[in-house]
């Protein structure tokens, strides 16, 4: 008997085994998958780093860690930097992964790249800043538990950004549903400009500021370091970023695979007309997709703010572009792919940021070029992305 499991007909005895099954299916399995991706991304980047370090190891005219010209042994440097590089890559990679989910989910249902998503992300960072400032003004920032502060920031950002994404869809995309594909794309770029300038104007009127520094200095907890080994340490902020990203990824996995609405969204992304024949309200599913994608983008904004600690209204563009790249790298439309793509791109970036400062002719600013070059190489050989499937265009 393979009848469908329903809470009603599960006896107490079965309840335990099904609770275990449930945990396995929707908590342990996705966490395992995320860990696997971390290992894949981390492993391949470590390998790359070691090989590059080994090949270029001797007699290099570079600058050492104190920015003094010196002959450096690159292999030694790489070995020394590897643990921190991996930690850095994982942190930023998770942020990219969470943003990338917003791109990939919307692409899945509408076959359209929501270029305003990067500004939704920026808005999330700004909302996080506002919550921090308000708490500070109420003199609650240092008295509240820091974790509660983070949760407040994330939840507020999710609410505001989810709502904004839904409104944006209603106003700027829905009326263009039947139009040629380029039209909503241009509309998205317009929304993107609008949101940037709206935030700029709002903050200028509100606080008369342009730079919005996060007040992480006021809470010692954020900057406390956890030391793993000599020279390998990280802050609690990093841990918060990684843990909250994992919670969101697992939550999204549950939502998409186990809930009725999530399955409805997947059905709509595969075949809209047939989904409507099943009694699924396609418009409602699209709205929910924007809500969830926007909320994730907002949360990612807060995490990004905690990491970089300085926010401007223009901060969304580059991470947004990278997250979009991550989504393409993993296979656009594929949720698992977005996670893998995000982690890989984060690692690549961390690798090049760690390596390039040794070469005075290049420098840190070139790290993006190399990261994107790797992307181009991957796409040359796998145009559908790493986990994308070859799909025939619908006639």
């Amino acid at each position: 008997m393979t009848a469908i499991l329903r809470p009603e007909d599960i006896t107490a005895n079965k309840l335990i085994s099904s609770a275990a099954e449930w945990t396995l299916q929707y908590v342990l399995k996705p966490i395992g998958q995320i860990l696997l991706f971390v290992f894949i991304a981390g492993g391949s980047i470590s390998l790359l780093a070691l090989v590059v370090g080994f090949v270029l190891q001797t007699d290099w005219h570079g600058i050492d860690i104190l920015r003094v010209p010196a002959r450096i042994n690159l292999f030694e440097q790489v070995l020394r930097q590897l643990p921190n590089m991996l930690l850095d890559g994982i942190t930023i990679g998770f942020v990219y992964a969470v943003i990338a989910l917003g791109y990939t989910m919307v692409y899945g249902v509408l076959k359209f790249i929501n270029f305003a998503h990067s500004e939704i992300f920026m808005l999330g960072a700004v909302v996080g800043y506002e919550v921090m400032m308000r708490l500070n003004e109420a003199e609650l920032l240092s008295s509240l538990p820091p974790l509660l502060v983070v949760v407040l920031m994330i939840v507020m950002a999710m609410v505001v950004c989810g709502g904004t994404a839904v409104i944006v869809e209603r106003v700027a995309y829905k009326p263009l549903r039947g139009a040629p594909r380029l039209v909503p794309l241009i509309s998205a770029i317009g929304v993107s400009f609008f949101l940037t300038d709206f935030v700029r104007a709002f903050q200028a009127l509100n606080r008369n500021v342009f730079n919005m520094p996060y007040l992480t200095d006021r809470v010692p907890f954020f900057n406390e370091r956890i030391v793993f080994a000599q020279g390998v340490s990280t802050t609690y902020t990093t841990v918060i970023i990684i843990v909250s990203a994992i919670i969101m990824l697992v939550g999204l996995n549950y939502f998409v695979n186990a809930t009725k609405i999530g399955k409805g969204i997947r059905a709509v992304s595969q075949d809209q007309a047939t989904a409507s024949l099943m009694g699924i309200n396609v418009n409602q599913m699209i709205t929910i997709t924007f809500l969830v994608g926007g909320a994730l983008g907002g949360a990612a904004g807060v995490l990004f703010g905690l990491k970089t600690t300085n926010i401007t209204p223009y901060v969304g563009f580059i991470p947004g572009l990278k997250a979009f790249t991550a989504a393409v790298l993993g296979g656009i439309g594929n949720i698992t792919g977005a996670m893998l793509g995000g982690l890989l791109l984060g690692m690549l970036e961390a690798f090049f940021s760690a390596l390039l400062p040794y070469f005075p002719a290049l420098g840190l600013g070139y790290s993006d070029i190399f990261a994107f070059a790797v992307l181009i190489l991957v796409l040359l050989f796998r145009p559908t992305g790493l986990l994308g499937k070859k799909v025939d265009e619908k006639v």
């Binding site: 393979t2 409805g264 997947r266 059905a267 007309a273 024949l277 099943m278 009694g279 699924i280 309200n281």
Partner: protein, 236 residues
């Protein structure tokens, strides 16, 4: 009052006048078939009923309620089950999830009951519950599509070319199920190219030609009609 009634329905695809004034009736418990060549407008008729295409003129009524401007998902929830042409299984959802989508608007308590009912009709599907829809064979996909349409417990089931592209033995199976459904009192509007088998199972039939109904009669009478035999049954 007829369960489903179309009155002088005109549907356009862009500039193409696909349906030129279709009028038909399906009574409760009847199996009615719509026969015609490729491009005659059979699928368009079904799509217009379930709201995927919109009529420019005319009336579509389910028990006297006008469906013209009701969105497709609401028409489905009102009890019109549409099994589309080409089966349209969700390839990346498992068979179980495909069925759950079919029962999207069905309350949880009734869903289990409906599942048992369709498993009775299609025992094969039960063996494949955890497989992805796209990995099923054509015949299995057709069974799944029909099961998915039946989960809703529709007042009327619209079947679009259920035998298309299937091996003869599977065609027999499909029609066997239609016979069973008929015996259980399910109302069906069946679109088929296989006119012979369609007329065997149906009570009444309509012949569609370039967007117009050219003949309407009982299935028996159509089977015996000279014109139908020549044009659609391939007899001399």
């Amino acid at each position: 009052m007829a369960l489903l009634e179309l009155e002088n329905v005109h549907t356009y695809y862009g500039h193409i006048h696909a349906l030129k004034g279709i009028s038909l009736k399906v009574n409760e418990g009847e199996v009615v078939t719509l026969i015609g060549a490729n491009g005659a407008g059979k699928s368009t008729t079904l799509r217009t009923i379930s709201g995927l295409a919109r009529p420019r003129m005319g009336k579509i009524m389910l028990e006297g309620v006008l469906l013209n401007n009701v969105p497709p998902h609401k028409i489905t929830r009102m009890g019109v089950g549409h099994v589309p042409e080409g089966r349209r299984i969700f390839p990346e959802l498992t068979v179980r999830e495909n069925l759950e989508m079919g029962g999207f608007s069905v309350p949880r308590q009734q869903l289990q009951e409906r599942m048992e009912y369709v498993f009775q009709l299609f025992p094969r599907i039960k063996e494949r519950l955890n497989q992805l829809g796209g990995t099923l064979s054509g015949g299995e996909q057709q069974m799944l599509a029909m099961a998915r349409g039946l989960l809703l417990n529709p007042r009327i089931l619209l079947l679009d070319e259920p035998s298309m592209g299937l091996a003869p033995v599977l065609v027999d199976q499909v029609f066997d199920v239609i016979h069973q459904l008929h015996a259980k009192g399910t109302t069906i509007l069946l679109v088929e190219q296989n006119a012979r088998m369609a007329l065997q199972v149906a009570d009444r039939g309509y012949i569609l030609q370039s967007g117009q109904i050219v003949m309407a009669d009982s299935a028996k009478a159509l089977q015996n009609s000279e014109v139908v035999r020549k044009a659609y049954l391939g007899e001399e």
